[in-house]
Amino acid sequence: MTLELNRLTGQVDAMGEKLAQRRENTARRGQEARQLLAARPEVDDELRAKIEAARKYDEWRRGAMPLGDRLDEACPPNPDPPEVILIAADGSQIFPDRHAITTYYLINTGTIVMRRGSGSAPSTDSAPEIFFEDEDVYDDEGQVVSNEEISLARGRREIEALARLAEQERRALGGDTSVPIVALVDGPLLPWLRPDPQRNDRINEEIDFVIRQLERLRAAQAIPVGYVDRPGSGFVLRIMELLDLRLDQIERDTLRQQGYKFAGLTDRALFQWLRPGERSGFFNPYSNAHDRYYSRSGERIAFAYVNMAHAGRGEEMALARIEVPGWVADRKDWLDAAHAALYANCVPTAYPYVLARAHELALVSQGDKGELERLLGQVMMRNGMMPEISVKASNKLLTGAR
């Protein structure tokens, strides 16, 4: 062990004090936000106009438009449908490492299809792919493909797998639409893409891919859901910040000075009133990616917050954000089915079982990586090459093992 903990004790003490202060501050400001919401929960035309104006004058403001008439909606879950099909996909990867024996990367996609009410074991799959061809490993400038690009490729495989499996399940049902199919991905529905005017076409390509897969899911009458555990977003707080401003005050400078009084808080501080199982109303989020999705598909993503805690397990609050395409948000029966099925699936913890299993099926551990590279080394030797890690990497093996 080389970390000199004794030299950190002072810093750690200071950190503890700061965390306690921050917690107190967060609690006070969260209380303020909740009181404001309790006093002004109605969504009227003036509020909608303010939200649109704020978006217009500050395009970086990540706010949201409520779809209902109140900000404090709380919908309890319906009973778990007797039959529902839950599909989940997750991905994992080995990023390229220039210190390894060779340049490659790997994506592993895990999927699970659980048919509630069947009594049968789910269908599971792990699909590993290794990329080693020059056109896969190097970009147009001859540089090793970036981790961001590999993460996007992983995301594409996840959503494509959901679409494919939803189509298969609907076919297996003979087209019977009475059984809901909920297709779940870990994280937001849209990939995170760094806004960059030089990469416009590339960004559009990714958004178009998601649109195509969501259309496949729609055709299969499936309900796609993006599941965000412990959300760090502040979409609804951005709405709260507009409540005390007049419509004519909403312009860029005022917003920058007065429009972020709840900055540093997340919506988790706001939605404490949701009891176990309840979900909030739905909102359309505003962001560069969401606007781009809207302009290319004509649809908006909608989200709601759900308290996935189960009182029977002594849990009180476990807030998650669920995202659905607009065509799902328009269907109350689908929203109710997805809400109920997801809540019932949050066992043994306040996180969907199918997502936990999809993650497990996708996971590539350090041990797996080591075994793969041992195999690669053997193959290289059989083909007349001597596998060698870099001097730096071999020194790390010598010194890092303590």
């Binding site: 048919r115 009594g119 049968s120 074991a121 789910p122 066992v347 913890t349 299993r357 497990e360």
Partner: protein, 200 residues
């Protein structure tokens, strides 16, 4: 169950023992987990093998299963997923009892232990009979310190007996093994008696 099947891979090894890591479905545990005293082999290069006998099986703690049990989850699909689709991490401790090359078996410690990640598999009946034709491997078992030696010996002898095709051969085998044990444990008759009673 006759016939070879792969058990897992070597996690770590020494001159006298090795440990095998494997992952099995709960539903297949009865079939796939090597029995106490079972003869296993680590395949080295060429036709060289290192033979060992199972002396301990540990089913590792699985935090996910523990949480499901604690939460009292009784959803049929989840239970079947755990039984049929999730693999349980199992660690098998093996004591080395010999090595071989081709059809030859040597009841002594190998010149080198198995290598990390070497494949470990069970031995079919024919190989068990070939290995146990002579009884010298029992010296290695009796000489081991950190294992329930008597129980391993009894289990191994039962499995070696069952590998023989006919009742006559099985009986002859146990008689021969018993005579060898009598020589090896001549100074500990109580222990000898204990082992022989368990072979009836």
């Amino acid at each position: 169950m006759d016939g070879e099947y792969e058990v897992g891979r070597v996690l770590r090894s020494s001159t006298a023992a090795f440990t095998v890591g494997c992952r099995q479905l709960i539903a297949e545990q009865d079939k796939m987990t090597p029995k106490l005293g079972a003869l296993l082999k680590a395949k080295g290069g060429g036709d060289r093998v290192v033979y060992g006998m199972t002396c301990n099986v540990t089913i590792e703690d699985d935090a996910f299963v523990r949480q499901l049990v604690a939460a009292g989850v009784d959803t049929a699909e989840i239970i079947e997923d755990q039984r049929q689709k999730r693999q349980v991490p199992i660690v098998v401790d093996v004591m080395i009892v010999g090595h071989g090359e081709g059809l030859k078996c040597y009841h002594r410690l190998p010149p080198q232990p198995p290598r990390t990640l070497d494949e470990i598999s069970t031995c079919g009946n024919a190989e068990v009979v070939r290995f146990t034709q002579e009884h010298d491997w029992m010296r290695l078992v009796l000489g081991s310190i950190d294992a329930p030696v008597d129980q391993i010996l009894v289990a191994a002898l039962r499995l070696a007996r069952d590998a023989r095709p006919s009742n006559d051969e099985r009986r002859q085998y146990l008689v021969g093994a018993g005579r060898e044990l009598a020589k090896l444990l001549s100074l500990d008759l109580a222990r000898l008696d204990g082992i022989l009673r368990q072979l009836r």
